[in-house]
Symmetry: C2
Subunit: 448 residues, 2 copies
């Protein structure tokens, strides 16, 4: 077997300043795309070899899309000649040394001139290890494939029991977190319950399938406007989703979810979409961290370090307008990435950099098959079918890669007219530490 | 956690004779599709919840297609009202009792009136456990996803080493078995080497990437005509594939493949497409087995058992024309399935059944991007671009599901003009016992 010490980063030496970017998400790729290779050598590290369009991840989880529709290989994105001094490495970064100005990875260290931390966020279980162990996250593509298999296997198993309690626990789905992920997942599940599952499982009564959406705040979609929240709640209730506001999940043992206040829900599946924390990296000074994020100034410079930048979800830029930082969505990351690509050459030439000003293009959420809510700039709001058309348009627009747009669009057209979700395949991704127990049982069914 | 004893098959009682089908492959689905639910209750068992179009599996392994393009959910196939007494169960069958006329599964037993064994075949390592442990099979969708990730990770790692020996072993790919799978996989890999990898990995020299195709017989595609074999060999050589005929792999330890005669090839990846054995089921009489298959008469009745049938790859029907049984491809399975669906009602009514006569529609294999070979009925042969068009047409035609046809066709049109393969995503399926060691290392790179 190869061992990590048999490998090396193997980045060519250069006389140009080297920009090292950690993370190929919305922030990272926008820095890399806009920087000129005449001015800089660009090195991108990621643990995945693709850039994911996470706003559509819930569609992978609900058998609507395959991963290739929402993910673009990073090497494909940077394959053209404009990027002759761009270097991608599929490797995990383990730390930073701001003094030595080096990044250390599993296969060696690399000196940088400018460092961009764009590591994004990871699921936050608020220290509840039991929930972490038994719940299903929805942050990465393997999570989504895992969840898709879990949903389908729950129905397969529900068709194989007469024990009412077991059957019910297999048909109860608890979604924790009423943000966009939770809301859109709940909506898609409700549509499956209505249009697909009854024909797939003729012997079963899907009036008994319950979808719980548990939110700690007093409304769904707290980041959006009260109008959007109200409409969304109405749509969700019309879809038959059981919404619990001002409610927290205290414990989940894989069978029973106990809510604050004592109510218990028997559920074989609990999806954790409740919180995120910055995907932190070792080596940054303590004083630069706050609430699991990295404090940056208006140029996205990490507090006290003028050649290290943090952008996107991991960055915490306090402004008068956003005292608690910018929303953890794609737009701030994209805009900060693009601006940084403009600022680095200025910094290099000793010119003044341009401060970041977030332009809020508004936010969108889809509920079910053909309804959405939208908050537009200047406090305008939209909902219903027209908002859905906008949602469709915006998401197709922002998908990376002509091919992805094609795949997603044709899928949606097909599904809009057939109600079909063609990807109802039970294919397990790698075993996650958490639900190994669950998996071991499930695999008994179809393992060699 | 649920345990298997908490589940039951849960098949409704019936006064109609019950047909139990084991396996949702080409044979099994054709029996189930053509049988009338007025006459029989139909129960289908499979360990997957989908029917796979295996002739295109190699395209999943080479980043050409996602699984949903070649797999159709079984419940979707049998969702219409024509199948009101059809019952699918996702469960592993562990044995048959011909005396008690019951099938036993992980979650209970089920009596049958007629039993159809359509379990197909599995990889045959001819008792070489070492090869089984370290090689990559290509029989199921998780295998293909696993192989896709393996290919890409080899290149990622090759880009991270200067050790010429390690680099070479990462860029050597040994395909064992010169049948359709091996040939089509080799061709697709060669096309990737030509059109995609050089732009994806600008720093690397892909003249050093070697694709070995090792075949034990004296020609590639032994099941096809000598003409087809000759043409195929010519095409493969034009694609720069290193063909070794009359050669066997004696051992493979994950690093070095030793061929009969002593030649050694350092290769990080060895794909085993050399042999298949019937996926046997416990409980059938010894005398009914030969060469890992089930002996059947001309009605596909298992030797000595008039209500148990075996069809497709697992069936061994000796005829004057096919003394060693029919070829292990889709057509015999499809034709035997359709005939059995006609014969079961006859058997039920005590009428004489119709003997099986294999109609050889010919066979096809694709080599690389736009060339193929074809053996047509009446000893006619075809090759080159036109044969490729026929191959395309036939494969689109036979794909199950309107949606699959659409997805595959649009993918191919897109790829034909762009040379692209959009699915270059490293996403690991569940860990296979075999290459856990390999995987553990690889996951160090991108695991949480």
């Amino acid at each position: 077997m190869l061992e990590t010490d048999q490998l090396s980063l193997n980045i060519p030496d250069t006389t140009k300043p080297r920009v090292v970017i950690i993370g190929g998400g919305f922030g990272g790729i926008n820095v890399a795309k806009k920087l000129k290779c005449e001015d800089f050598q660009i090195v991108l590290f990621d643990r995945q070899n693709y850039h994911g369009f996470w706003p559509l991840l819930y569609q992978v989880a609900t058998a609507g899309l395959e991963p290739d529709a929402i993910a673009e290989p990073l090497r494909k994105m940077f394959g053209s000649d404009d990027y002759e001094d761009f270097h991608f490495r599929l490797v995990k970064v383990i730390g930073i040394d701001p003094v030595m100005k080096t990044v250390s990875t599993l296969v060696g260290n690399l000196p940088y001139d400018y460092l961009v931390v764009a590591t994004g966020s990871k699921s936050n279980y608020f220290g509840n290890d039991q929930v972490k162990k038994y719940s299903f996250p929805l942050k990465q593509i393997p999570d989504a494939l895992n969840l898709r298999s879990q949903f389908l296997q729950c129905f397969e198993q529900a068709s194989m029991t007469n024990d009412p309690e077991i059957k019910q626990s297999l048909m109860n789905f608890v979604i924790v977190g009423g943000g966009p992920t939770g809301v859109e997942l709940a909506g898609a599940l409700a549509e499956m319950r209505k249009h697909i599952l009854p024909t797939d499982y003729p012997g079963m009564n899907f009036n008994n399938m319950n979808i719980y959406l548990v939110e700690g705040m007093d409304r769904v979609l707290p980041p959006m406007s009260p109008q959007a929240s109200a409409k969304t709640q109405q749509y969700l209730e019309e879809l038959g989703i059981d919404i619990r506001l001002n409610t927290l999940v205290e414990s989940y043992d894989g069978n029973i979810a106990t809510l604050k206040g004592g109510e218990q829900i028997r559920a074989h599946t609990l999806i954790w979409a409740a919180g995120v924390a910055g995907a932190m990296i070792d080596g940054l000074p303590e004083e630069a961290m706050e609430r699991g994020r990295i404090l940056v100034n208006q140029y996205n410079q990490v507090l006290g370090l003028n050649n290290i930048f943090a952008i996107g979800d991991i960055a915490f830029m306090k402004t008068d307008e956003y005292p608690r930082g910018h929303p953890g969505v794609a737009q701030p990351a994209i805009q900060q990435g693009k601006l940084l690509a403009k600022n680095l050459p200025k910094l290099k030439r000793g010119r003044p950099m341009e401060p970041f000003k977030y332009y809020d293009k508004g936010s969108l959420a889809i509920v079910g098959r053909n309804r959405a809510v939208a908050d537009l700039p200047n406090d305008r709001h939209m909902s219903g079918f027209f908002a859905w058309v906008v949602w469709l348009f915006v998401h197709i627009m922002f998908l990376v890669g002509f091919r992805n747009k094609l795949v997603v669009l044709s899928n949606w057209i097909y599904r809009f007219f057939t109600y079909e979700r063609g990807t109802r395949l039970i294919i397990r991704p790698f075993v996650r530490k958490g639900d190994r127990a669950k998996r071991k049982f499930i695999n008994k069914y179809n393992a060699e």
